[in-house]
Symmetry: C2
Subunit: 134 residues, 2 copies
């Protein structure tokens, strides 16, 4: 069911410093910051040869990563995103096996303009998993 690892998302306390570190110290290809008001984050995409890293910084008062950064002031790996062909079929299979889907269980349009869902970390070894239909 799951295909490529689309990205690993890292919540960071200082987006400019983190982007500069990936660009200059780690020598990666780093894009410009992009505000995603619908998702409450500003994102910097880092292109690796086989996948992406996404740096996330809170945008607005209701940012979904605000609490994460309060608990992890240095930042940390926030979630990983697997690609799926059919997000509704994936959701229904996982739900039928007892896994919990976050929110109202309906896919939303994610930061890449494609349908996404998040799975409950407690049901997946403490890892927040995003599924993205590609």
């Amino acid at each position: 069911m799951i295909g490529r690892l689309n990205h690993v998302a890292i919540a960071v306390p200082d987006l400019k410093a983190a982007a500069a570190q990936y660009e200059n110290s780690l020598g990666a290809k780093v894009g410009p910051p992009q505000d995603e008001p619908d998702h409450g984050v500003t994102v910097v995409f880092i292109e690796l040869p086989n996948t992406k890293i996404e740096l996330l910084y809170p945008l607005g008062e209701d940012s979904p990563i605000k609490g994460f950064l309060e608990k992890n002031p240095s930042g940390g790996i926030h979630h990983m995103c697997f690609e799926v062909d059919d997000i509704l079929a994936a959701r229904d299979k996982l739900k039928s096996e007892g896994a919990r889907v976050l929110g109202n269980g309906e896919p939303k349009i994610g930061a890449h303009g494609k349908p996404v869902l998040f799975l409950h970390p407690k049901d997946f070894n403490g890892c927040l998993i995003e599924l993205e239909q590609v």
Copy 2:
């Protein structure tokens, strides 16, 4: 400097259950458990089309992931591994910029038989980063 994302490593409290979940619920290609006594872990490799997930479970009393699982009993994303061409050049550049390398600072032979180093999470947005020379 950094190349491909070689793998994302997930520490899990129940290796058999986690491997079965990735194989059956998530439909991924999951290998057999492999004991790595030199690294204090039993590993299950999950092959995705573009990278790997490594499930880690403690092996022996001095396992480096024992403390992580005590703090995160459900498990969690433990580290991510970036490939580099020249691990000593990468280390020396990062050290000269103030980043800390874990252990004695010398590469060890990692679970894939290649030289690896770990970078201090506090210097990299709370993320434990492994560098592997390929």
